[in-house]
C-alpha cells in the first residue's frame, strides 16, 4: 500500500512535459557565452580563404548558395525545372543586390559564423559588368574591374589581391553568379536521389529545404560551428513560382538543442541601380599588396626560408623571438598578412612566449592551430590560438589568424 502511495507521489513529482532550456534562456546563455568566447580570429582576419579558394575551384564542392559540401541526399523528384527557371531569370537581370544577416563579427573573415554571436548585416552588390562589392561594415571586399580589395574601414588598412581570388569572400563568392549556381543545382538535383532534401509549395513559392552535415574532421572540435560549412545546418531556399526567381534563403543550426538562424537572406533586389561610386576604391587606406607579382618580390627581400622546413611549433617560437627583438624582416616574413604597426599597436612589440601548447588541426582549416600564452611588454598575460599555414610556394609558415 505504501509502495503504491510512493508511486503516486513519484508520479506527481515527475514533470508532465519535457523540461528543456527555453529559446529565451538559450539566447541569454549564448549571449553571455559570446562575451567569454574562445580566442577569436576576429583580430586576424582571413585566415582561411586560400584553402577555401582551392576548394571552391573544385566545382563539385559548391552545391548551393551557401552549401560547401554535398548534402547527404537530394530530392527524389524533378526540382530541376525550378532551378532552370531561376537560372534563366538571371540571364535577363542587369545586376542585383542581396541583403542578408549573419551571426558573426563585423571584422571577421567572411566565412566565419558563430551561433553565439550577434547579427551583422551584409550587402552583396553585383553589377552586370562583373564588378562586385560585399560590405559588412567592419570588413568590405570589392572587385573594381581590375583587382580585388579587402579592407577594414575603421582601422584604415587592407589587402590588394589578384582578380581571380574571389575565394577571399567564401562562401559568398557563390553569390557572384547566382545564375550559374542555379544551373549547377539543376544538374545536381537531376543526377542525384536521396531523402535529406525536400520541397514545400504554396500558391506563390516553392521552398527547398536541405539538411547539410558539417564538413571536416572534428576529432578536435575547436572549429565546429565556426563557419556555415563547419556546422550541421538546415538550409531553406525560397523561389518564386511565377518566374523562378530566388526570393530568399535561410540557414539554421542547432545549439543546445534549440534551432538558431545563423544566416538570413531576406531579400534580393534584381536590376538594382548601381552608381559609379559604388565601386570606388577608398584612398585613405594602407594597402598590403598581396598580388602574385608583389608576393614574388617579397620572397626575394624577406627571409621566408627561416620559416620553411620546420614544425609549426618551432615557427611560433621564432615568431615570438622576432616579436621580442622586433626583428622586422623576420616579422614581415611570418606576419605578412598584417601591417606591423597594427601588431605593435596591439601590444605585441617586446612580448615573450610564456607557454606554448602542441599544434592541432580542426575542421576544414588547411593549416594548424597553436595555443600560446603570451606575456606582453606591459607584463599582462594573454592567451591566443595562432592559426598558421604553409601551403604557399615557399612552404613557409605564415600566421593566418589569432594574433
Amino acid at each position: 500500500m505504501k509502495r503504491n502511495n510512493n508511486n503516486e507521489i513519484e508520479q506527481q513529482l515527475t514533470p508532465k512535459c519535457e523540461f528543456h532550456a527555453s529559446e529565451d534562456l538559450v539566447g541569454k546563455v549564448l549571449n553571455a557565452a559570446a562575451e567569454e568566447a574562445r580566442p577569436s580570429t576576429a583580430a586576424a582576419p582571413a585566415f582561411r580563404w586560400r584553402a577555401v579558394f582551392a576548394a571552391a575551384a573544385a566545382v563539385a564542392a559548391v552545391v548551393a548558395l551557401f552549401i560547401t559540401v554535398k548534402p547527404v541526399g537530394t530530392p527524389a523528384y524533378a526540382a530541376e525545372n525550378l532551378f532552370a527557371r531561376a537560372a534563366e531569370y538571371f540571364t535577363m537581370v542587369n545586376g542585383y543586390s542581396v541583403h542578408f544577416d549573419v551571426r558573426t563579427e563585423p571584422q571577421e573573415q567572411f566565412s566565419y559564423s558563430n551561433p553565439t554571436k550577434g547579427i551583422v548585416h551584409h550587402t552583396m552588390t553585383v553589377a552586370s559588368d562583373g564588378r562586385w562589392k560585399l560590405d559588412k561594415v567592419g570588413r568590405i571586399a570589392e572587385y573594381d574591374g581590375s583587382d580585388i580589395y579587402v579592407w577594414f574601414p575603421e582601422e584604415g588598412w587592407g589587402w590588394k589581391h589578384d582578380s581571380d581570388k574571389t575565394g577571399i569572400i567564401f562562401p559568398f563568392d557563390n553569390l557572384l553568379d547566382l545564375g550559374g549556381m542555379m544551373r549547377w543545382l539543376e544538374e545536381y538535383v537531376a543526377g542525384s536521389h536521396g531523402a535529406d532534401c525536400r520541397k514545400v509549395e504554396d500558391d506563390e513559392t516553392v521552398k527547398l529545404i536541405v539538411t547539410v552535415p558539417a564538413q571536416g574532421d572534428y576529432s578536435n572540435s575547436y572549429m565546429k560551428q565556426a563557419s556555415i560549412g563547419d556546422s550541421d545546418t538546415k538550409q531553406t531556399y525560397v523561389f518564386s513560382k511565377a518566374d523562378g526567381r530566388l526570393l530568399s534563403a535561410k540557414i539554421d543550426t542547432k545549439v543546445l538543442g534549440v534551432s538558431r538562424t545563423i544566416l538570413n537572406a531576406k531579400s534580393i533586389d534584381y536590376d538594382t541601380a548601381i552608381t559609379a561610386s559604388t565601386f570606388a576604391v577608398p584612398m585613405n587606406v594602407e594597402w598590403l599588396d598581396h598580388t602574385r607579382k608583389a608576393l614574388a618580390g617579397l620572397a626575394a627581400e624577406l627571409p621566408m626560408g627561416e620559416f620553411a622546413g620546420i614544425g609549426a611549433e618551432e615557427a611560433v617560437e621564432k615568431l615570438f623571438k622576432a616579436l621580442h627583438d622586433w626583428d622586422e624582416p623576420m616579422l614581415k616574413a611570418v606576419l605578412r598578412a598584417y601591417p606591423l604597426k597594427r601588431i605593435e599597436a596591439k601590444g605585441f612589440k617586446g612580448c615573450t612566449l610564456a607557454r606554448r601548447g602542441e599544434s592541432f588541426r580542426s575542421g576544414s582549416y588547411v593549416g594548424v592551430f597553436v595555443p600560446c600564452e603570451v606575456q606582453l611588454a606591459t607584463g599582462r598575460k594573454i592567451k591566443v590560438k595562432l592559426a598558421l599555414r604553409d601551403d604557399n610556394q615557399w612552404h613557409a609558415w605564415t600566421v593566418d589568424g589569432g594574433i
Partner: protein, 120 residues
C-alpha cells in the same frame, strides 16, 4: 578528461558547481517561489513553467539537499547510484534523503486532503 568515467554525471556536477560559484560572486534579485508565477514567460514556455511551479510547490518545505535528490530522480531520471555519483554522497544517503522527501510530501498531501474534508 581521461579520468572522467561518466561524462553526463561529470557535466551535471560541473554545471552545478559553476552555478554555485556564479551565485556566490554575484548579487541577485531573488524571487520567492510563490511570486515566480507572476514572472512573465513566453507563451511557448508556459506549460514547462507551470510544471516547474507545481513541482516546486510540492518540494517547497523540504531541505535543499532532499529537493536536489528528488529533482535528479524524478526530473532527470537518474538512478540512486548515479545521483550518489553526481552529488558525491554515499548511495545509501541518496536513498534515505529521497525516502524522507517522499514521506514528507505524503504527510503534507494527507494533511491537505483532511483539511479539505473538514472544510466540506
Amino acid at each position: 578528461m581521461r579520468h572522467v568515467n561518466q561524462l553526463e554525471h561529470y557535466l551535471i556536477r560541473s554545471v552545478c558547481n559553476k552555478c554555485r560559484d556564479y551565485q556566490r560572486k554575484k548579487q541577485y534579485d531573488l524571487v520567492p517561489i510563490e511570486d515566480a508565477a507572476r514572472i512573465p514567460v513566453p507563451e511557448s514556455d508556459r506549460p514547462m513553467h507551470e510544471e516547474f511551479l507545481r513541482i516546486s510547490k510540492l518540494l517547497e518545505d523540504l531541505p535543499e539537499q532532499q529537493q536536489e535528490v528528488v529533482r535528479l530522480k524524478c526530473t532527470d531520471g537518474l538512478k540512486f547510484r548515479e545521483i550518489a555519483s553526481v552529488l558525491e554522497i554515499p548511495e545509501a544517503t541518496a536513498k534515505s534523503r529521497y525516502r524522507y522527501a517522499i514521506e514528507h510530501i505524503q504527510d503534507k498531501l494527507n494533511k491537505t486532503s483532511k483539511n479539505h474534508e473538514t472544510e466540506q
